[in-house]
């Protein structure tokens, strides 16, 4: 009789364990796996019917030191903080200092930069701020409430 009871206990433990694992999977489910320090810039793109621009830091830092863009070209240390638009780029400011067909590809290659998933908000991918800041507390669903 004792071994039957222990078997039953084991079964319960297994169910609990499985349920826990599944709940954990729920937490870790859909996460973008983009490269650390990729920036999505969507100040104006979505509203203008373009895909948001994606700026890969890694690609640029292989070729240029931080100082070139952040001191010489005036890029602020803030995602979306530079209010870049196509007019400024064509004038040779910000990205346009290099993306002019001389140092790097020119503005005709729209979809090389404007390659983000539509609707992605401006953000710094993989930053600690993005990882740590929790969304506002929404409370329990009606289905989970004790006294309906």
């Amino acid at each position: 009789m004792a071994h039957v009871r222990s078997l039953f206990k084991f079964g319960r433990m297994a169910t609990l364990g499985a349920a826990l694992v599944i709940a954990m999977l729920g937490w870790f489910a859909p996460a973008a796996q983009a490269e650390y320090a990729d920036i999505v810039i969507n100040n104006y793109a979505d509203a203008a019917g373009m895909r948001p621009a994606v700026f890969p830091h890694w690609f640029h830092r292989i070729r240029f030191r931080c100082k070139v863009c952040h001191a010489d070209l005036g890029f602020q240390f803030k995602a979306g903080g530079n209010k870049i638009n196509m007019a400024k780029i064509i004038e040779g400011k910000f990205c346009g200092a290099c993306h002019n067909g001389e140092v790097a590809w020119s503005v005709e290659n729209c979809d090389m930069c404007h390659s983000g998933i539509p609707g992605t908000p401006t953000h710094f991918h993989g930053s600690t701020v993005q990882r740590l800041v929790a969304p506002p507390y929404k409370g329990l669903d009606d289905s989970k409430k004790l006294n309906k």
């Binding site: 609990l16 499985a18 349920a19 826990l20 599944i22 709940a23 729920g26 937490w27 870790f28 859909p30 996460a31 973008a32 796996q33 983009a34 490269e35 650390y36 320090a37 990729d38 999505v40 895909r51 994606v54 890969p56 830091h57 890694w58 690609f59 830092r61 292989i62 070729r63 030191r65 931080c66 100082k67 070139v68 952040h70 001191a71 010489d72 070209l73 240390f77 140092v103 729209c110 090389m112 930069c113 390659s115 983000g116 998933i117 609707g119 992605t120 908000p121 710094f124 991918h125 930053s127 600690t128 701020v129 993005q130 990882r131 740590l132 800041v133 969304p135 669903d141 989970k144 004790l146």
Partner: protein, 230 residues
């Protein structure tokens, strides 16, 4: 007596619901999590992959896939033709020294070993950076090792004006720095935790590198010092 029973029934109720939540079929558990966060962009990605309570510490979470190519990375649109022309990070990182965090590339070591030589001037490949070799020791109140800030590694990449005086006042004792400020993107966190190596449990010692002196004791708080009964 009445209050006691209310408390008891509430406690039992809470226990029952938590057990029910644990034992509920998998589909409901997953569904309840996935409809949690408010900022799902067209149902395709989460900007902050947080769902409920107790997911701390999210900085400990490992990436499922290191250095994913653009079409599979979750922020580039695979339906966009340009996405498939872009260079994949792994292809560019071959031969570079590795680390356990960030891009999984040790960028400073790559410069020191001569594996990389990014331009210091936009159009002049021969321009050399103005490197300043000066270490600043910052004593830390807590029992972790003190911080040594090396100017050399920073001036290899940056100009003085990038940090001084807007982020750090160039004067001893003028800057208040805390880990919470850094994690929230202030001070060192303007870069560390965004582009340069992030503060994780594996990278503490990169900054906190000077062991405390043998006779070190934790400093007493203001309250303790002012306590007349002491």
């Amino acid at each position: 007596m009445k209050y006691k029973t209310t408390y008891l029934s509430a406690a039992v109720g809470a226990l029952v619901t938590s057990l029910a939540a644990l034992l509920s079929p998998p589909s409901t558990a997953v569904a309840a999590e996935s409809d949690g966060p408010t900022f799902v962009a067209q149902g395709k990605m989460l900007v902050a992959d947080v769902a409920g309570v107790n997911t701390f510490n999210r900085n400990l979470k490992k990436d499922k896939m290191k250095n994913a190519p653009p079409p599979e990375d979750g922020i580039h649109d695979p339906e966009n033709t340009g996405t498939h022309i872009l260079q994949a990070p792994l292809e560019a990182f071959t031969g570079l020294p590795t680390t356990e965090f960030g891009n999984y590339v040790d960028w400073v070591k790559a410069l020191d070993e001569g594996k990389l030589n990014p331009r210091w001037e936009r159009t002049d490949p021969t321009a050399e950076p103005f490197v300043m070799d000066l270490d600043i020791v910052r004593p830390v109140k807590a029992s972790v090792p003190d911080v040594v800030f090396p100017h050399r590694q920073h001036t290899l990449w940056l100009a003085c004006s990038n940090c001084h005086p807007a982020i750090f006042i160039p004067q001893k004792g003028a800057n208040q720095i805390s880990m919470s400020a850094i994690l929230l993107g202030q001070k060192c966190g303007v870069c560390h935790g965004k582009v340069s190596f992030p503060p994780t449990t594996k990278s503490c010692k990169k900054c906190h590198s000077k062991p405390k002196p043998e006779d070190w004791k934790p400093p007493l708080s203001e309250a303790t010092l002012k306590n007349p009964w002491k």
